[in-house]
Amino acid sequence: MPIFGLALKSLLNRRLTACLMVLSISLSVMLLLGVERLRTQARAGFANTISGTDLVVGARTGATALLLHAVFRIGYATNNVSWTTYQDIARYPRVRWTIPLSLGDSFRGFTVLGTSGDYFRHYRYARDRALEFAAGTAFDDVYDAVLGVDVAREFNLRLHDSLVVAHGAVDAESSRHTDKPFRVVGILSKTGTPVDRTVHVSLAGLEAIHVDWQSGVRAPGAGVSADEARRQNLTPRSITAFLVGLDSRNAVFHVQRFINDYRKEPLLAVLPGVVLQELWDAIGVGEKALLGVSALVALVGLCGMVTALLTGLNERRREMAVLRSVGARPRHVLALIVGEAIALGAGGLAVGVALLYLGLFIAQSFIQTHLGLFIEIGAPSVYEWLLLALVLLASFVAGLWPAILAYRYSLIDGMTVHV
């Protein structure tokens, strides 16, 4: 143990080099863990967003594009599904429930989703968990809105507050539906999914705010007041996509086939689990490459440490001689250098993990805003501990080489140094 203390003190004496060595190791550790963390968290985040849904149906497009837009609100829809088609499929014998989804409007950067009450009854996330209300209830009136928890928090909105949504994804002054504000009637509990960042309104509500809009702009002079709009026919002509739940999961292929062969309108039905699996398979190679690169970076960091230790050896022959003169044996010299390497490795790990958590903390809200993914900041997983242990072991092994050299030198040199 005194040897280890000596190693620390000796390192302290060369603190600049030591700091740089710790830094290079810590950066590589951060990269290694960060890549692994993002990989698993991204997968879990995606997989936890949808559960219990048998099919996602939309206009014909790419399977991934449909799932990403309808469920994760990433990208855009190429086309809509007509209301009659939706109703027709909802009546198919095997279909137990459907959730219509109408996207396109926004509230200060947050998605506005037009849907039905079935959303709150049937939508499931994270292995069969239902949506819960932190306050209030589902929407009932045309101008009622239910907020995800992040929307409510960000703008400090409470029950009965009003909010004005905007046409399109960018909330510009000119495109706001100022004449028809919505009233907050419910706020959902935290889910860790894009639901948290969504304003939910009824399909009729979405229809109402667009009654006096034609071809993407407000028709001049055609101001229809909020109450006049209520009296109009608010059945939507089309929706963006819809989710389907079946009476038996075994029937999913048959219903999928029915929808994909639907003659009146080109549609696409996908199994969310399969599309996600496809996505993982597609990006799996990239993930492996990233992990490989970060492992190499860790190796480079350790090589840097060995280089620094090796170059230091010659200069420290005198130090070793002094140590020998006060009674240190060659094996003590060996322990000293190995101890140094382990101290550097451990220091690098500690700083690296600290940097990682700092980075995650900063990146968390950014990732959620831009990707809709909730990155959970938890304790390192078993696999991550394993990676950490591996780095520590590697620094021990890397330290052996200069240590054995130092051991040899101290045997040859004895107490006299011939430099």
């Binding site: 999961r249 292929f253 999928q256 029915f258």
Partner: protein, 184 residues
């Protein structure tokens, strides 16, 4: 070619596959486990070949866009969707091999999947009849999935589960005790 005719033709092709291609269920050590093959899941009087033959003969007489084609396909779909199950297999502990189609998972493991007799059952060809699809639940020990349509063999208690539906039909569900990866 008419799309409905294509449906029928490929359906026939698809059905001839299970007899040849599925990985054979290995002999199990435990005597209570019954090794089951896909044809065992079809009642002996349910003969898809004969069913298809009947439709095929009629479809051969049709022109493109004949409204009868749609009706025929509709009828065939009903048969396919509500194919009868073998009640004798209910509550047996079975071992069966097939291709995995992910339903629920966390990105690394799957907790619920469909087991089907041939590759790409959900995309490239019409689906097999409903008695050739088994829902597998791995609640306690999620299975670590390696790739799409991985071949696995599943051991567990098979149940024939009635579907709440106006048509009398049932489907196979296995609560898996063990799921093993198989090399193709």
């Amino acid at each position: 070619m008419n799309r409905m005719m294509a449906f029928l033709l490929v359906g026939m092709f698809a059905l001839s596959l299970p007899a040849i291609s599925p990985p054979q269920a290995a002999e199990s050590n435990a005597p209570s486990v019954q090794a089951v093959e896909w044809k065992d899941l079809m009642p002996s009087d349910f003969n898809p070949d004969r069913l298809l033959k009947k439709y095929y003969d009629e479809v051969a007489t049709l022109q493109d866009n004949d409204p009868r084609a749609e009706r025929l396909a509709e009828g065939l779909r009903k048969v396919w969707e509500n194919a009868p199950v073998v009640e004798a297999l209910n509550n047996r502990v079975v071992k069966i091999a097939g291709f995995l189609v992910t339903l629920e998972g966390d990105g690394r493991t799957v907790s619920e999947f469909l087991l089907v007799p041939f590759f790409g059952a959900c995309i490239h060809v019409p689906p097999p009849p409903s008695n050739q699809i088994v829902l597998v639940r791995t609640k306690d020990r999620p299975f670590k999935v390696r790739e799409m349509f991985q071949t696995v063999s599943v051991t567990g208690r098979l149940r024939t589960q009635a579907v709440r539906n106006d048509v009398a039909s049932a489907s196979y569900v296995i609560d898996a005790m063990r799921v093993e990866a198989q090399s193709r």
